[in-house]
């Protein structure tokens, strides 16, 4: 069993094992869940350590026949893009688990099970190289998240949970059809159906067909991202989800949409991608501004952060649509950065709401006087989120803007300018929020005796802060290994079309080299 | 000659059937249905199928209809009551019923249209009616399995009827 398989299996089996633990040992269950997730994290670090950063190929590849008659195999592997998303997942999960030690008191075993199951599914999404396998993980992931929101969420959790699952499903089922379609298109072309990404990339699809398939894929991913105007599930889901759920939702789940665009939608349908990239970019730009403006006036902390995600993810999509090395690199980096900083914000909001059981900004004010440590970390995370250079948010945004400016489509420069206004707006809503929560006189008596960060909470938030700084100061740790993969992907999209104009068959195919994982 | 009989029997069958569904007393309906069955039996004779004609009288008119009569008398509800209640009117009212009748007419027309493709196909004049023996042999050779299956069917019906109709202990 290869490392990647272990990454999926360990949390899953760990989660099942949690269910088998006895009743009434909540503390132990919490610890066990954390332990499992930490083991997974270590495993992911092993993957990182064994990753060859100079190669654009998929590594740690495992391939086993699954449903050979249908061209479906268990095919996993990672490249520079998915590597870090996997690590992000394994990094955030223990943190999310740890942050729930005190806030989750009921059905602890089930909570651990769903969290770990979610982790397994998310990792599965990022490592799948077979579209069927990908879709299985993609869809399976909805269930644990649904339960996390629905069981441990806040007052309108049921509405939010159902909205989340239906909204996302509505998008993804059409993608399922598109996946099947393309697999059998492969059959029409070559005689055998195939769901394998590499096989499908090697095939040329007629432009008219690409349009529909691309739209089906893009819709699924756009909802997941979420791209304006498909974003309205997000504020509800975020607000109602328990802290751990919000952290994972914002930190990892949303990235699956952008990852999907980059890994599947764009390379599989290069012509359509180039046709539609400007329009998607337009939505992204609208989302940046729109998300920021709406975030600005939210009275609820979690909602504010949720809308800020809409804005930030708009940057990511914009970078992807630019289809330039810088843009895509920036986008991938921004995915990671957003995972860290927004995850951190949700953790902090969660800590506040653990103490005060409210998320309304108006209920707070002047917290800095009572909880200086918490507010200090809050500040750091806020700044990371507003893309202060030296922290993680800046690198991604900057590269995205640079990349978009030289993007291939017509109004790329206009988009850049509008997107850059997000720089102003993010400062407006984040700092305004920060100020209303933490500065000013201590107006609410209930806040007077709030306790500062506990040791456990330090362990929750410190890694986030450390990562925010590390990614801001030494972004190359992340940028270097992803660059080959990013270049390859762009080549698949842009190169394909450029060549296709003259000579349809000459799409350079990425060699999938099976590297010995162990 | 045959045509006269055909028309007579046909008219009786249709008229009796119409009366079966045309009036409210179930007792009368059962009686009229027996009439209709007898007319059909006559038609079977015309069709050189005396075996089935006899069966029709003995089993259908004789046994099954008696069963009906028996139940009608057992339950002793001579006429149907007028519809009551909103939903009953909505569904049992004149409108829906007329619509049902109209649909039936449409069905006749449709079937007649379809069957008209066979218009003018004469029946072979010199047909020899299969003897009961022939029928028996075919029944047990070709349709032996169906025959056995019918036994299961009857068993099921029997068990079912008993269990549903018997009084709760």
């Amino acid at each position: 069993m290869g490392l990647l398989t272990l990454l999926v299996v360990v949390p899953l089996l760990g989660g099942v094992a949690l269910l088998l633990m006895g009743r009434g040992r909540d503390r132990l269950v919490h610890q066990a869940a954390l332990g499992v997730s930490l083991v997974t994290f270590v495993l992911s670090l092993l993957v990182w350590a064994g990753f060859d950063p100079t190669s654009a190929d998929y590594q740690f590849v495992e391939r086993h026949a699954w449903l050979p008659d249908f061209g479906i195999s268990y095919h996993v592997g990672i490249d520079g893009i998915s590597l870090f998303l996997v690590v992000l997942t394994t990094f955030l999960t223990p943190i999310a688990l740890l942050c729930s030690w005190e806030s989750i008191e009921s059905r602890v075993r089930a909570f651990g099970f769903f969290m770990l199951g979610l982790e397994a599914a998310m990792i599965g999404v990022f490592v799948s190289l077979d579209l069927f396998l990908f879709y299985v993980f993609w869809d399976a992931m909805l269930i644990p998240m649904y339960f996390l929101i629905g069981i441990w969420g806040y007052d309108r959790r049921v509405y939010a949970a159902i909205k989340f699952i239906l909204y996302t499903m509505a998008g993804s089922v059409l993608m399922l059809l598109a996946i099947i379609w393309i697999a059998y298109y492969h059959q029409a072309v070559t005689g055998v159906p195939s769901f394998d990404l590499a096989d499908l990339l090697a095939m040329n699809i007629a432009r008219s067909v690409q349009t529909w398939l691309f739209l089906a894929f893009a819709l699924a991913f756009a909802i997941k991202v979420p791209l304006f105007p498909f974003h309205t599930w997000l504020p509800d889901a975020h607000v109602q989800a328990p802290t751990a759920g919000s952290v994972i939702l914002a930190g990892v789940l949303l990235k699956m949409g952008t990852y999907g665009l980059l890994r599947f939608a764009f390379p599989l349908f290069p012509d359509a991608a180039q046709t539609f990239a400007p329009y998607i970019a337009l939505l992204a730009v609208v989302g940046i501004v729109y998300g920021a403006l709406v975030a600005m006036v939210q009275p609820d902390l979690k909602k504010l952060v949720a809308y800020s995600s809409v804005s930030h993810l708009g940057f990511v999509v914009l970078g992807l649509c630019a289809l330039t090395t810088n843009g895509v690199q920036g986008a991938v980096f921004q995915m990671l950065a957003h995972g860290i900083s927004t995850g951190g914000l949700f953790l902090l909001v969660g800590m506040l709401s653990d103490r005060r059981h409210t998320r309304l900004i108006a209920e707070y004010g002047g917290l800095k006087a009572v909880m200086p440590k918490l507010v200090a970390t809050f500040l750091l995370v806020t700044l990371a989120s507003v893309a202060l250079p030296g922290l993680n948010g800046f690198v991604g945004e900057f590269l995205i803007l640079v990349g978009t400016y030289s993007g291939l489509f017509e109004y790329a420069r206009v988009y850049t300018v509008i997107a850059a206004s997000g720089v102003i707006l993010s400062a407006v809503y984040m700092l305004w929020m920060f100020q209303r929560v933490n500065h000013g006189p201590l107006t609410n008596e209930k806040n007077r005796h709030l306790r500062d960060l506990s040791v456990r909470e330090w362990f929750v938030i410190a890694p986030i802060c450390a990562m925010a700084i590390l990614m801001g100061v030494l972004p190359n740790i992340f940028l270097r290994p992803m660059e080959p993969a990013v270049r390859r992907t762009i080549q698949q999209v842009v190169g394909g079309a450029v060549v296709a104009g003259v000579q349809p068959a000459a799409v350079p195919e990425p060699a999938i080299v099976v590297r010995e994982a162990n | 000659m045959e045509s006269v009989f055909f028309w007579v029997f046909a008219t009786v069958a249709v008229a009796a059937s119409l009366l079966v569904i045309g009036q409210r007393n179930p007792m009368h309906s059962v009686m009229l249905l027996i009439v209709s069955f007898c007319a059909l039996s006559g038609l079977y004779v015309l069709l050189e199928a005396p075996f089935i004609a006899v069966i029709q009288i003995i089993i259908y008119a004789g046994a099954i209809m008696v069963l009906f009569l028996f139940v009608v008398m057992l339950l002793n509800v001579p006429t149907e009551e007028a519809p009551t209640g909103y939903h009953a009117r909505l569904l049992g009212g004149a409108g829906p019923r007329r619509f049902g009748a109209v649909l039936s007419v449409v069905l006749v027309l449709e079937l007649a249209w379809a069957l008209s493709t066979m218009r003018g196909t004469p029946l072979p004049g010199d047909a020899v009616a299969p003897t009961v023996r022939e029928i028996g042999i075919r029944l047990f050779r070709e349709h032996g399995f169906a025959f056995e299956a019918t036994s299961v069917l009857i068993l099921v019906a029997m068990v079912g009827a008993i269990i549903l109709a018997r009084r709760e202990k």
């Binding site: 909205k163 239906l166 105007p229 599930w233 729109y290 403006l293 709406v294 600005m296 006036v297 939210q298 330039t324 090395t325 810088n326 690199q329 920036g330 002047g366 800095k368 006087a369 200086p372 200090a376 202060l388 250079p389 030296g390 690198v395 900057f398 590269l399 803007l401 640079v402 400016y405 850049t416 300018v417 850059a420 206004s421 720089v423 102003i424 400062a427 700092l431 305004w432 100020q435 500065h439 000013g440 006189p441 201590l442 030494l474 972004p475 190359n476 940028l479 270097r480 | 939903h87 009953a88 909505l90 569904l91 049992g92 829906p96 049902g100 649909l103 039936s104 449409v106 069905l107 449709e110």
Partner: protein, 653 residues
């Protein structure tokens, strides 16, 4: 090695941030000050080495790449530092004045608790670190780290007394307004990347040098205008100056360091850093000059009527920064930087002096409640006088040389109108500064017991304690002497600073060919001297007016105010720019966001559509389930309809 320069204060920051709250004040203050002094020492050493180094291609410079920061595609951004004459001046100012202000702060902030004290110094150190990164950065990206970093520290320090709502608001406002500028800055950087593929100052300069000067709106113009937008934010110029007066909510040493001496000059520095780039965009240069002079004039007029001592100084700062931009705009980069350098001294001095006054009056900042302090606070008074005279432009103090250099270069460049406005501003400067001086230190005392907010009453005023005194005195000396490095040739000086800085304003390729100092023609010399005299006269006139109105005949002020009530209200209301911004930008955006976007588009249209789909499904569900009436005959009807319709389809198709 240059990286220790910012590293020292960074270490100071980390130490104070992490353990500061458990340290006694003396220790945390000492750590911070020591970190600054170390940085100063290291800077001095580095500058000494710079001076001793052989010019390469006409430029003395020390370049250092610490590590590669961002590498993506063809873009390669190292964390690189560059020490050349320009940054040398800047680091000396930053670390030097910074050290003094740290020292001053140890006394000034003494009333804070241990934790707050440490927090203050950690911020201050962090600021110094970022400021040093800003000035040492060898490319735009690194500069931008510092640029944003100092903005952050400014935010933190303005809002240091965060429980005061006004302070917190002011901090936020500063950050956000700066962000508006940064929007331009980032776009400018992106344009540069697109144009030159690099963000390195030297490489860009080399690239630009090969291009013709743009007379119309072209790429360079747009890029430089965007960068200038960044500068207007950071350096509080029109239209983004509004944050600086509010920034006075911060502790006074902060105002001195950040909002007078160092950070606010970053915009000027940035233009100086990219002199070659900016000189290739004529329109931008004009814009810079015009914006600079208009800002100077506008701020001067407002300064005339303000009553808060620090706000007057703030407007004065804005005004002086306008001068610097004027200099930049007319191509007098050396003059601009020279003014930056002298201004750092006297403005820091003025702020610290005002701080001493405030400190003595236990927080009173309103000049209407001061007066007559010259005897109570002699040291403060005298050093303050030095600063005031210096800023007013009276020779031979520092301000005179630098300001006059700017005025002359402006005039010499043919910008007569700008020059005239600048002169008016000079007049205003002298006026309001002396107004400040008179209101604070002269006249009868108005800080009657009870009016002063202090705990121990106004009678026990004490002058600045030692650390503050030291800082004041050193800065006062600086304000007197700093100008001496730039004595113009017409006065027999050598304007060393101009010559020293000149290579920094030239493209690397041509840097070797330093134009031989042009011997000015006689008539030019005469003209320059005449103008110099004029400016001195203007300054003196300004002082005279101030003396008349606010010292000799205070009622004139009231009468003027009554006579020109509208104008007065306009000035007191600061031209109502804040209000206009609020009404035109802030409120509409908030309202649009709430009513239109959030409640309208988001909840109404989009979510309405989504929920509408759900409702439609439910609605149909409710309707269709009614078909299931429970009546068996209806069910049979359904079957029958199915049969008839299907048959019909086949018959009629």
């Amino acid at each position: 090695m240059l990286y220790p320069i910012p590293l020292f204060p960074l270490i100071g920051f980390v130490v104070n941030a992490v353990v500061g709250r458990r340290l006694p004040k003396a220790v945390s203050g000492w750590i911070a000050t020591a970190a600054m002094l170390a940085a100063f020492g290291w800077s001095a050493g580095a500058v000494w080495r710079l001076l001793g180094s052989e010019p390469v291609g006409g430029v003395r410079a020390i370049d250092e790449v610490v590590f590669t920061w961002i590498a993506s595609g063809s873009l390669d951004i190292p964390l690189a530092f560059r020490l050349d004459p320009l940054s040398a001046v800047m680091i000396l100012v930053v670390t030097g004045i910074g050290s003094l202000i740290h020292l001053y702060s140890t006394a000034y902030m003494h009333e804070e608790t241990d934790g707050e004290y440490a927090r203050y110094f950690s911020y201050l150190n962090l600021f110094a670190a970022f400021m040093l990164v800003l000035v040492l950065g060898a490319n735009f990206a690194v500069m931008f780290i510092g640029w944003e970093g100092v903005g952050l520290c400014s935010y933190l320090l303005i809002g240091f007394w965060f429980t005061k709502r006004a302070a917190a608001e002011a901090g936020k406002k500063a950050f956000i307004v700066n962000r508006v500028g940064d929007f331009g800055f980032i776009l400018g950087m992106i344009g540069l990347v697109a144009l030159f593929g690099t963000l390195d100052f030297q490489a860009i300069a080399a690239g630009v040098a090969g291009m013709p000067v743009e007379a119309t709106v072209g790429a360079l113009t747009i890029i430089t205008l965007l960068l200038f937008l960044g500068a207007t934010g950071k350096s509080a110029q029109l239209p983004l100056y509004v944050w600086l007066p509010d920034a006075m909510e911060g502790p006074t040493p902060v105002s001195a360091l950040i909002h007078a001496a160092t950070m606010v000059t970053a915009g000027v520095y940035m233009i100086g850093r990219n002199a070659v780039l900016f000189s290739h965009a004529e329109i931008t240069m004009q814009v810079v000059a015009v914006v600079g002079v208009l800002t100077a004039l506008l701020a001067g007029t407002i300064g005339l009527v303000q009553n808060d001592i620090k706000r007057v100084l703030a407007y004065s700062t804005i005004s002086q920064l306008g001068y610097m931009f004027l200099a930049m705009g007319v191509g007098a980069f050396g003059a601009g930087i020279f003014h930056l350098y002298t201004h750092a001294f006297f403005k820091a001095l003025l702020f610290l002096g005002s701080g001493a006054v405030i400190h003595a009056l236990h927080g009173q900042q309103d000049m209407r409640w001061m007066g007559g302090l010259r005897h109570k606070l002699p040291l403060t008074f005298w050093t303050f006088v030095v600063g005031t005279v210096a800023i007013a432009g009276i020779p031979p103090l520092a301000g005179f040389f630098s300001k006059d250099e700017i005025l002359w270069k402006t005039f010499a460049g043919g910008h007569t109108v700008l020059w005239a406005l600048a002169v008016v501003t000079a007049f205003l400067t002298a006026t309001y500064m002396f107004r400040l001086l008179y209101l604070t230190f002269f006249g009868e005392r108005r800080y009657a017991p009870g009016a002063a907010r202090g705990a121990h009453g106004a009678e026990h005023l004490h002058d600045a304690p030692a650390p503050m005194a030291i800082a004041l005195v050193v800065l006062a000396i600086g304000s007197v002497l700093a100008g001496l490095v730039g004595i113009p040739h017409v006065l027999g000086g050598h304007n060393q600073i101009d010559a020293f800085l000149a290579p920094s304003f030239q493209a690397p390729a041509v840097a070797g060919v330093v134009a031989p100092a042009v011997e000015a023609a006689d008539e030019a010399i005469a003209l320059e001297r005449a103008l110099m005299a004029l400016s001195v006269i203007v300054a003196v006139a300004g002082i005279g007016v101030a003396t008349l109105v606010w010292l000799r005949r205070p009622e004139i002020a009231d009468r003027l105010a009554a006579r020109w009530r509208g104008l007065h209200a306009l000035l007191v209301g600061k031209y109502f720019v804040d209000e206009i911004y609020d009404a035109v930008l802030v409120q509409p955006i908030k309202r649009t966001s709430t009513a239109l976007l959030w409640k309208g588009v988001d909840t109404g249209v989009i979510d309405g559509t989504v929920n509408g789909v759900g409702l439609v499904v439910r609605g149909w569900s409710a309707v269709l389930r009614r078909l299931q009436t429970g009546s068996v005959r209806a069910y049979a009807m359904s079957i029958f309809v199915g049969v008839v319709v299907t048959m019909g389809y086949y018959l009629w198709r």
